[in-house]
Subunit: 298 residues, 2 copies
């Protein structure tokens, strides 16, 4: 029998993802305390009734569930275990939900540290981008104890559409990394195939349509190939951020899994894009790297 979800909530990290996610929790009638590195990012939420806290510890002090969505593993470490971190207000029954995409093994370490104070950590990285965050259609991949998952699930449903309990602590992060392997390597398939098509004089629109519905089809082909063909490299998802996730895959692979050759290849090709100043382009700019690979002149 699921318990009533907590209604005294905190949200830490009000970036492009966190801000709209926190807004959904507030709009549903919960008490919301917020904290972010830049206080001005909280202005809109405060005008709608949220309270400001000067530190993660202060935010946790006044709440029964603490959500966070920051960039990378060191940021989560700072929020949870830093000098003014959540751990200093941790107590029996507090649940912390981490929406950041970070290291699975560090996630297990953070959960262990919080468990000394009977505080539970759920790792709950998301996919679906800023559009999914705004429209509350995110996919949320959750790792951690099943009872805490069931307690928090109604709150996750305010922010996302596909909510999956993936397994124990770290399983949410691992599932997100599987997602990123698929996204990155299918993007490579799309970039390499479209490069071959255009360099051989095929019509891009005919080719995209002819192949989208069969065994060759994918979200990446149907959505990114048309943008590549038009030269539209505006970010849906930015190369710099994707690189962070691929680095996490490659790090995790050194610990527990066989070397992932295709992910390593995409990571290197993206590194070339970054070196050419395209790090803030969308991931579909992988296409431009492949276009510039060249046979030597005869």
């Amino acid at each position: 029998m699921p318990s009533t979800p907590p209604s005294r909530l905190a949200f830490i990290g009000l970036g492009i993802m966190g801000l709209p996610m926190a807004g959904h929790l507030l709009a549903a009638g919960n008490t919301l305390t917020v904290h972010s590195r830049t206080k001005s990012k909280a202005d809109d939420l405060i005008s709608r009734g949220a309270q400001w806290a000067d530190s993660p510890a202060d935010a946790a002090e006044q709440s029964d569930a603490v959500f966070l969505c920051v960039t990378d593993t060191p940021d989560v470490r700072q929020v949870l275990l830093g000098p003014a971190g959540v751990v200093h207000a941790a107590r029996p029954g507090l649940i912390v939900i981490d929406h950041s995409t970070i290291s699975p093994s560090e996630t297990r370490h953070f959960a262990h540290e919080l468990s000394h104070k009977q505080t539970t950590l759920l790792d709950a990285p998301v996919s679906g981008g800023d559009v999914g965050a705004k429209n509350a259609t995110l996919s949320i991949m959750v790792g951690g104890p099943e009872d805490a998952f069931h307690t928090i699930e109604p709150l996750l449903r305010l922010m996302g559409k596909t909510i999956t309990h993936c397994g124990p602590t770290g399983a949410g992060q691992l599932t997100k990394l599987v997602n990123q392997i698929l996204v990155a390597v299918t993007n490579l398939a799309t970039s390499e195939a479209l490069t071959f098509a255009l360099k051989n004089g095929l019509d891009p629109q005919k080719t995209i349509t002819a192949l989208g519905g069969g065994a060759a089809g994918s979200w990446q082909w149907n959505n990114l190939a048309p943008r590549m063909a038009k030269g539209d490299f505006a970010p849906g998802f930015m190369i710099d951020l994707q690189q962070k996730d691929l680095r996490l895959v490659l790090e995790a692979a050194t610990q527990s899994t066989p070397p992932p050759p295709a992910t390593a290849l995409v990571h290197q090709l993206f590194t070339s894009a970054q070196a050419a100043g395209k790090g803030r382009d969308g991931t579909q700019a992988l296409f431009t790297v492949l276009q510039h690979l060249a046979n030597p002149a005869p």
Copy 2:
């Protein structure tokens, strides 16, 4: 204004694809002459009213359109230009439709040779496998003159569902190769992602379902990952045949396009599978190669 399609037809090559395709042409009431390397493959069609011809030239002699579906470029060369090849019965108005997947540049050469006798070649490779051939749901990618395409299109609709005129001679073959790049590299994405998931202890079914609907999704992930997870390597499409198509991609890339690194990687990994005696397994056995990549013992 499309002309009436010819009804005196020949079909050469009665393999796993050609036999059901020829059957559809016959069932629609056309006169059908057939030829194959192994005569017994024609028994069923002959019992249903088809006529046997002793050579490709004999088959072409009695027909206004000649379809062929054989394995590789040298087979097509033999059927078209060999000592008893179609070219010896070629004449103004004859249309030859090649459903084999072969070299785009050799296709242009064959078309040029036939053009001396005012015979038109359409390259028309298919995708959809033996199931698509039986159910007449193939995708057919056609290159060649537009008027010949329109003449033959009603006959192609007896065998396929998605019929695309891709461009001039060779464009059908090039589009099929784009299809194979996508299929092969998206299979690599699927294999590498599922390997990472299983080696990290994730539940395969939960992971497959959680990621199938978003930006990570593809036909390969949704259809092949479940078979990989179950250890079901029965061929939908055989590694040995896929390798022929990837070789065509890599050959074409030496002539006209940048080097395709991911296709080259899949080709090499499949070569390992073939060396291990798995060439007649389905392409999803790529997963077993990735599973056996290993970090050295510490």
